[in-house]
């Protein structure tokens, strides 16, 4: 017993320092790796949080919803502009329509490209207009529209409640498109101007809605530009419509 105990003691005396030092080395390596990993993570996190565009919108984001719906909205504006160019010789309306079609076609392409770069489908992930029912940046649910933004935006629609799957503001109906399709000359110009004024006002309402909900710089710059140019075009078209009685 004693001999065995002493043997054990000897073994311990010799082995313990080796085991202890290898354990210490392992701990040092683990601590080192952890330190490096944490420093890297903190660095990347800080960089990410402080970068100007930290968030890539996902498929259910307000930005993706806006980009999909506004493409559809713009496509119809292009369609109507191309239609009126075939139905009147008036140079003012024709050049307005030319400008409008190419501008909105280019803008639809921008929104298409955003969705591609965000790697989300072009196809809606939820019903049309759902994004407009989402809370605004200051936490309101669409009260933005109820509190008389209509004055500044010139929106004639007092109905502010948008429902998921609802019709986009300003979008012409099939019947309205058919009436433009059937008309010629000044009549076609009048129908076009009337429809396009409403179309722009609806577009402005949607652009205001994304400005109230998104912090993504590209989207904000785009929407701000849209509000400004379409507002001035609304005024120009109102004058043109007045000239045509």
């Amino acid at each position: 017993m004693t001999a065995a105990g002493r043997d054990d003691g000897d073994v311990t005396d010799e082995a313990t320092p080796t085991r202890a030092s290898s354990g210490r080395r392992l701990r040092l390596v683990v601590a080192g790796v952890l330190t490096v990993a944490i420093v890297l993570l903190v660095g990347v996190a800080l960089g990410r949080l402080s970068s100007p565009n930290p968030v890539t919108p996902g498929t259910d984001s307000v930005e993706a919803g806006f980009s999909r719906d506004m493409q559809v909205h713009h496509e119809q504006a292009v369609q109507m502009a191309m239609m009126v160019r075939d139905r009147t010789d008036d140079p003012d309306v024709r050049s307005l329509a030319y400008d409008l079609a190419l501008t909105q076609s280019q803008q639809a392409g921008q929104m298409y490209a955003w969705l591609e770069l965000w790697r989300v489908p072009q196809a809606p992930s939820e019903p049309t207009m759902t994004w407009m029912t989402r809370p605004t940046l200051d936490g309101d649910y669409g009260s933005h529209h109820m509190t008389g933004d209509g004055g500044a935006g010139g929106s004639a629609t007092p109905v502010a409640t948008h429902e998921p799957g609802g019709r986009m503001p300003g979008l012409a109906t099939d019947e309205q498109l058919a009436s433009l399709d059937a008309a010629r000359g000044v009549e076609a110009e009048r129908i076009f101007l009337t429809l396009m004024i409403a179309h722009h006002e609806g577009g402005i309402e949607m652009a205001d809605a994304i400005l109230a909900r998104s912090e993504v710089p590209q989207v904000r710059a785009f929407a701000s530009g849209m509000v400004q140019t379409q507002q001035s075009e609304v005024e120009a078209m109102q004058a043109m419509l007045a000239e045509r009685g």
């Binding site: 952890l34 996190a45 949080l49 890539t56 996902g58 369609q79 298409y112 989300v120 072009q122």
Partner: protein, 224 residues
């Protein structure tokens, strides 16, 4: 000096052995205490580091926004795909490699997208596929009126054509440029057909996605 005065106090061999043993025991206890302390430090450090890593990962997930859904990563159950399709503008009829056509040469004028009650010309409809539209076809012999109605409701409002197509080997088909899916009806196959639309509607798989689907030619029986 005191010890030399008391030689009788000199430890016996047994006492010496006991002393050595006690020393050894004490040394062992010190080692155990040190190991225990080191272990405690290690556990605390590892826990703190682990918590920090978890917190950072959570931060990443939260700041990386909503979930992405890469359309290219969607696998559509039962889809047939076709590569190396030609896309020339040709006059007359085209003999397509598949029925209904899912891409290939086509008429220079595209079909206006929408809902049709009569069969539409292949050559115009294929031009729509080139522009990123999807084309829903159903065999009138194999589907009910309510199934047709459900299909019309399901189809996207833009960049979609719905039309009858006689002699299909499946009650319904949805086709895009280079891809097509046979199915029975929307009610039974909604998940798969939705996947198809999510992946292929206006997708970059088509040569010219976003090119017009209006301002072309109407087929007969356009109701929407």
């Amino acid at each position: 000096m005191a010890s030399s005065d008391k030689p009788t106090d000199k430890p016996t061999v047994k006492q010496q052995r006991d002393a050595r043993r006690q020393e050894k025991v004490a040394e062992l206890k010190r080692q155990q205490a040190r190991a225990k302390r080191n272990r405690t430090i290690g556990i605390v450090t590892a826990s703190v580091a682990g918590a920090a890593v978890v917190a950072l990962v959570v931060t990443f997930v939260v700041t990386s926004g909503q979930p992405r859904q890469d359309p290219q990563a969607i696998e559509v159950d039962g889809v047939k795909t076709y590569s190396d399709l030609t896309a020339n503008h040709v006059g007359g009829t085209v003999d397509y490699a598949m029925t209904p056509p899912a891409g290939g040469d086509h008429n220079q004028v595209w079909l206006n997208c929408g809902v049709y009650t009569e069969p539409v010309p292949n050559e115009n409809a294929v031009h729509d596929l080139e522009h990123g539209a999807v084309w829903f076809t159903y065999d009138p012999e194999q589907v009910s009126e309510s199934e047709i109605e459900a299909l019309r409701d399901f189809a996207p409002d833009t960049y979609a054509v719905v039309s009858p197509y006689e002699g299909l080997d499946s009650p319904m088909y949805v086709s895009a440029w280079g891809a097509q899916l046979p199915f029975s009806n929307v009610a039974d196959d909604e998940a798969t057909v939705s996947d198809f639309v999510t992946k292929y509607w206006k997708s970059t798989n088509a040569p010219e996605p976003g090119a017009p689907c209006t301002g072309g030619v109407d087929g007969t029986g356009k109701i929407a």
